[in-house]
């Protein structure tokens, strides 16, 4: 195998508001049946990268639960497989991961003991399909030290929450600004990098010696002129979910036929952990329009332009519009939900009304549910 994978899934993100108070961004449910990290993991598996390390730290329980078996992504192999690294206290280290570079540094033995010549570094918070081998081939052809996968954003999108990039004609990166106050470029880094394993070890060790911890600022930006860092542009669908609006928009994208065709129909497919749930059930009184419905759901009310994740129960005369109902939510009779994201495992009492007036509202109720 030519490359191993590292997925940086440790970050917290206050822009996700209440949604990430329970889970890491990488564990956010996507498109009814998936979690964010499934896209990256499936890309790894479909690119024949058989050894993948997931570095987690913040609120990792839900992510660890999702990754409790590697078989769903076909990583249950004798050689390689899926490794989940959380910070541990050792004789010479008592810190949490202090940054992305530090996270890799604290697991440097994993890199040192591997024999794959290249490393693919990614984040776990984007929805996309990618054959990393294509990036790797580009990386080799360019004789690059580091290749950064980047994407041209639409003018309407806010680039300032990403790292913005300017490249010369040969695609070498000239400018790299991390989360700029004012974005001067609409080309952004997707957080996917290709680098030679030996070089990565050197860079990370050097970083650690200088007490620097961040991969972007302390390696990409700092070494910008010293190393040959190239950009690899993608045109396909790529969406980062790490704000509430972006998360909402990414999910709603799946109501578009071309997005469903791309992710659900075209090969290679996206894998996820299988849950043993019965098919969705539509009782008398259910009216469902332009919506995605995941398995285990039971619908008695009206659902429009919405996404129902697994095991949603929609009571009689409920109306759900333009909303995302996460896993295992019970909506009591006559409730009205519009423009909302309802947190998973919630119980919405009968006759409740929630409307996101100015943008999307995140609904978190902590009602006890009594078993039926």
């Amino acid at each position: 195998m030519r490359a191993l994978g590292i997925i940086l899934a440790g970050g917290n993100n206050h822009k996700m508001r209440e949604l990430t108070s329970r889970r890491a961004v990488a564990a956010m449910p996507i498109a009814g049946s998936y979690r964010a990290i499934d896209f990256t993991l499936s890309n790894m598996s479909n690119s024949h990268i058989q050894k993948v390390a997931v570095l987690t730290q913040y609120n990792a329980r839900s992510l660890n639960e999702h990754l409790n078996s590697s078989k769903w992504w076909d990583f249950g192999r004798k050689q390689g497989g899926l490794y989940v690294f959380t910070p541990t206290i050792t004789a010479d280290n008592g810190y949490w991961y202090r940054g992305t570079a530090d996270a890799i540094y604290q697991n440097l033995d994993f890199l040192k003991r591997s024999h794959e010549p290249y490393v693919i570094i990614t984040s776990g918070d984007a929805v996309y399909k990618m054959d990393y081998n294509k990036v790797l081939e580009y990386h080799i052809a360019k004789k690059a030290d580091i290749t950064v996968v980047c994407k041209e954003l639409d003018d309407s999108e806010d680039a300032s929450r990403f790292g913005t990039i300017k490249m010369d004609d040969s695609m070498r990166i000239e400018e790299f600004e991390e989360k700029p106050m004012v974005a001067h470029s609409h080309t952004i880094s997707t957080g996917i990098y290709v680098v030679r394993r030996r070089l990565l070890i050197d860079l990370i060790e050097h970083c650690a010696e200088e007490d620097r911890y961040d991969f972007v600022t302390d390696i990409l930006i700092r070494y910008k002129n010293l190393k040959k860092i190239y950009g690899y542009k993608i045109k396909d669908y790529w969406s980062n979910i790490s704000t509430v609006d972006a998360y909402y928009r990414t999910n709603m994208d799946f109501l578009r036929p071309e997005v469903r065709e791309y992710f659900f129909k075209q090969r290679p497919e996206i894998y996820s952990k299988v849950s043993d749930l019965p098919p969705a059930k539509y009782n008398p009184g259910s009216v469902v329009k332009n919506s995605l419905v995941a398995s285990g759901s039971i619908i008695n009310g009206t659902v429009e332009n919405s996404i129902l994740f697994k095991k949603t129960f929609v009571g009689n005369n409920c109306v759900i519009k333009n909303s995302i109902i996460l896993n295992d939510v019970y909506l009591g009779d006559n409730s009205y939900i519009e423009n909302c994201i309802v947190e998973s495992r919630d119980t919405i009492r009968a006759n409740t009304r929630y409307v996101g007036e100015n943008g999307v509202k995140v609904v978190v109720e902590k009602n006890e549910r009594y078993a039926l």
Partner: protein
């Protein structure tokens, strides 16, 4: 010595010929049921839920789908270091080689498999019933009564009892008489084809009757044990149990699932039914779709109207199509503008645009009136139905059919149309 207290032997080799074209290419236990399951999922899930982690699955007729479905048993948590699920097809022996000639003969040919686990008890199951049962409770009953053989039995209407093996039991459950498909049943307790044997008793009977042609549990083993004076007990079961051996009962059992609170509830947490369903996206319901009283599997796309249906995974119901009272299995495409009434359409079929299924009067099927009845249209897997044709009731279709096969564009009620070729 490593051992298992009880192992299960699951008979899954039968064709189930009464399901007609549905089982032309797959064994009955592999036929889809309830949107995402296959019939064999029910006994397999019962096993693991009852704490039985060693299951031999005896296959013979068209086993490919069954083998693929079961794999190494991951879906049912039956991938074990010791035990787990094992597929047992007939095999060549040094002295002879024969097919499984009967239910008991199949077990006899796998004595070695059973001996590997040194079981105290052996549970015999068949792969063609829909039910939830805790076999551990049945085993407790077996032990409590110091039985040699325990037969699960359920009360059925007396007029139907002659279709089954009937047991006549004393007050304490001991069986005084066993009648196999009797014309005049003496009791309404029907054997469900689920037996627990104390292993030495079963082994002795299998060896004693090894030369019996077509050796069968109901016809030979049970009467043999009874005559030898062994302790046979009836374990009365009163829950939901459905034999889906005919198209009518198969259709009915599926339709019962769409009741608001069905008698057989798949949504219970307590007794989950597991299946190997693959990793599928959620289903998409379009702005024009109308859905009433139906269950729909993952990855399906509904653009038309669906009423009282059981729809499998990856099915597409085209715009303007109306599908009522039907069972549509995995990956089948119903074209735009179709009208489908009371049909069973197997996996991966293509129904062309503006096809009408289930018209006309209830004329009995000319070829196999006993099989294709109940007013159903039955379509075998990988069938292609060309656009615009009409099909009557009590009909059966299979293969790559073309317009010319339908005189004046109509396949009248009671006709059968079996062609070569299939949808890729």
């Amino acid at each position: 010595m490593r051992k298992k207290e009880m192992i299960a032997m699951l008979l899954a080799g039968g064709q189930g010929s009464r399901l007609g074209v549905l089982t032309a290419k797959v064994a009955k236990p592999a036929v889809a049921f309830g949107g995402k399951y296959r019939i064999i999922d029910f006994p397999l899930s019962n096993c693991i839920n009852s704490g039985i982690d060693t299951v031999g699955v005896l296959t013979q007729y068209q086993p490919l789908r069954l083998n693929t479905h079961i794999g190494i048993g991951i879906s049912w948590d039956l991938d074990r270091n010791f035990g787990g699920v094992t597929i047992l097809p007939p095999y060549e022996k040094s002295s002879n080689s024969e097919w499984y000639t009967g239910t008991a003969n199949a077990i006899y040919q796998n004595l070695d498999y059973i001996e590997t686990y040194h079981p105290d008890y052996v549970l015999i199951l068949s792969g063609d019933h829909i039910y939830k049962m805790d076999y551990e409770v049945m085993l407790d009953y077996h032990k409590e009564h110091k039985a040699d053989v325990t037969i699960a039995a359920m009360p059925v209407p007396i007029e139907e009892a002659s279709r089954f093996g009937v047991v006549v039991a004393e007050e304490d459950g001991q069986i005084s008489e066993f009648q196999e498909k009797p014309p005049e049943p003496k009791s309404n307790l029907a054997s469900m084809g689920i037996y627990i044997f104390s292993w030495p008793v079963l082994k002795e009977a299998l060896v004693a009757l090894k030369n019996e042609p077509g050796c069968d549990f109901g016809k030979h083993i049970i009467p043999y044990c009874h005559e030898k004076g062994q302790r046979l007990f009836a374990y009365e079961y009163n829950g939901y149990w459905k034999d889906v051996g005919t198209l009518g009962s198969y259709w009915e059992a599926n339709m019962e699932l769409i009741d608001i609170v069905p008698e057989f509830n798949l949504y219970e947490e307590y007794w989950k039914i597991y299946t190997n369903s693959g990793i599928l996206p959620p289903q998409y319901i379009s702005g024009q779709a109308v859905i009433e009283r139906s269950i729909i599997g993952n990855g399906s796309e509904i653009y038309g109207e669906v009423k009282n249906c059981v729809i499998g995974s990856g099915v597409v119901i085209g715009e303007g199509a109306v599908v009522r009272d039907s069972i549509i299995m995995k990956d089948t495409v119903i074209g735009k503008g179709c009208v489908v009434d009371k049909a069973i359409i197997a996996e991966n079929c293509e129904i062309g645009e503006n096809v009408t299924l289930g018209i006309g009067s209830d004329v009995p099927n000319k070829l196999k009136p006993a099989i294709y009845s109940f007013g159903l249209v039955t379509i075998g897997e990988n069938t292609i139905v060309p656009p615009g044709v009409q099909v009557g009731k009590n009909t059966a279709l299979s293969g790559a059919t073309v317009k010319e096969d339908y005189p004046n564009g109509v396949l009248e009620s009671g006709e059968t149309l079996i062609k070569a070729g299939e949808r890729v």
